[in-house]
Amino acid sequence: MFFVPTFDFNSTSREFFKAPEIESVVNQRLVQSFSDNKVVRHVEAEGVTEVYYLNVRYLPIEGDSLVLPLKGKVQLDIDHVSGFTTVRHWGITVPTIDTWDLPRIMARKFLHYYSRASQRTLQEADQMVYMRILDQVDWQKFSLDRALPHYSEGVLIKKAPLRIKWSDDVVEVLPQKLARAFMLINEGERFSAYAKFGQDNAVVSIEHIEMLT
């Protein structure tokens, strides 16, 4: 591991750059670049494709907030003879030296298929790969996180706890952290707002509040 709360003096083997004069002899590190010929030669001698799991739990999709959650581990087949890495079930093969960029490449692939599927232009040949990808990602949470806010109207019944009666007569208690959005609305007043809904149709954010009374 890199550094953990329990002491492991192999920590000195997880160091990265070495002082130049001892580079050749203090080479006990697990951290290696795939461009390091020592690693490549070692694996070539075994003549196998190595299977690794990529330690990534989310793929970055948009800006500084939207991510695509992964359900499980991403499996990589690293072929040191050809110098290429394949992401199993994703239809992605990259030069092994570019493994660091896989989260972005995988995110692009997903967004490409997701966009095509939304536009109903996904090619038949790609549908199988897309289905396999969907098996490995939490696309439902992604869809909710990505959804645009909905225009909503309601009445502010009480500020604490934050109780709203929506225009369809459904009364809902919202998380108190959303109360700041209603700072200028008095209890009993009607309002309109753009609300974003999460799992179980719960409001996760609310903005653009306007008075209707």
């Binding site: 001892i22 697990l30 670049s33 500084d64």
Partner: protein, 278 residues
């Protein structure tokens, strides 16, 4: 002037055999925030004046488990991506600083050698910037653990006075805990591979660990030994702010300094060019 100079000490060493100093920080971030913001942080540091070069590295981890009820093991290998930046410092360009980050962890390393003009003060100064910048960017409220690591190298190049003419290391002369007169016998001989830990303060979880390990290959035609120190504060129920972590580093440095003085022998320290300080 080289090396480290807490106010409490009376000596500093111009040619202490420290070749690496590293501060590690561990935190618990919010789910998904790192994945969402790592690219922007990478771009921010890459385009700043800080790094001389940037690259990515991988940590390969092997998890070996016995298959229940069978005489076989299951090997699971995983890859973690580490974002790295390097900055050459010092007049002759032989010293460098390295900043690495990954999810919930970052480290700052100073590579230098005996006679170098830079020491812990420079590392600490740079660390103060990164600990604030990093925690703000990734919206981290508290930090769980901080470690300060020192790598000392006893070799023909770094400590010639401690190497015999035949190329062997006089470890008993270098380290107090290996003096032959206390252990018995004519002298300490390889292999050297020894670890120990000291609890400095149970309340804060501050501790010190050391490892003495002989290198498997010769350096400059002679044997060489690594003497690694690590002072850490790691207790998961005490979370620290960025400011507290920066302050804690100075305290950990004092721990390392005191142990350095206690562990290295007077003969060794005399060979490190001690300079009295005011």
């Amino acid at each position: 002037m080289a090396t480290d100079t807490p106010v409490q000490t009376k000596l500093r060493f111009k040619r202490a055999p420290v070749i690496k100093r590293q501060i590690n920080v561990l935190c618990k971030g919010k789910d998904g925030i790192f994945a969402a913001r790592q690219q922007s942080y990478w771009e921010k540091i890459s385009t700043s004046k800080w790094p001389t070069e940037s690259r990515h590295e991988y940590e390969l981890t092997c998890n070996l488990q016995q298959v229940p009820g069978e005489l076989s093991v299951q090997l699971e290998k995983s890859i973690s991506i580490i974002h790295c930046f390097r900055k050459i410092i010092g007049e002759n360009g032989s010293d460098s600083l390295e900043f690495r980050f990954r999810e919930n962890q970052f480290s700052l390393t100073l590579n230098s050698g005996p006679g170098s003009e830079v020491g812990f003060e420079r590392l600490h100064q740079e660390f103060n910037f990164f600990v604030n910048d990093w925690t703000q960017h990734f919206d981290i409220e508290s930090l769980l653990c901080v470690e300060l690591e020192y790598v000392n190298l006893i070799s023909k190049k770094t400590t010639p006075a401690l190497i015999s003419e035949d190329g062997s290391v006089n470890l008993g002369d270098a380290l107090n805990i290996f003096t032959a007169r206390e252990i018995g016998g004519a002298g300490v001989i390889p292999p050297y591979n020894c670890q120990m830990g000291i609890l400095i303060d149970a309340e804060t979880g501050r501790s010190f660990h050391m490892r003495v390990k002989g290198l498997e290959q010769l350096l400059d035609g002679a044997s060489a030994v690594r003497v690694d120190f690590k002072a850490s504060r790691q207790k998961t129920n005490i979370e620290l702010t960025a400011i507290e972590v920066a302050e804690e580093c100075a305290k950990l440095h004092l721990v390392v300094w005191n142990k350095f003085n206690a562990i290295f022998s007077d003969k060794a320290k005399a060979s490190f060019d001690p300079i009295p300080i005011d």
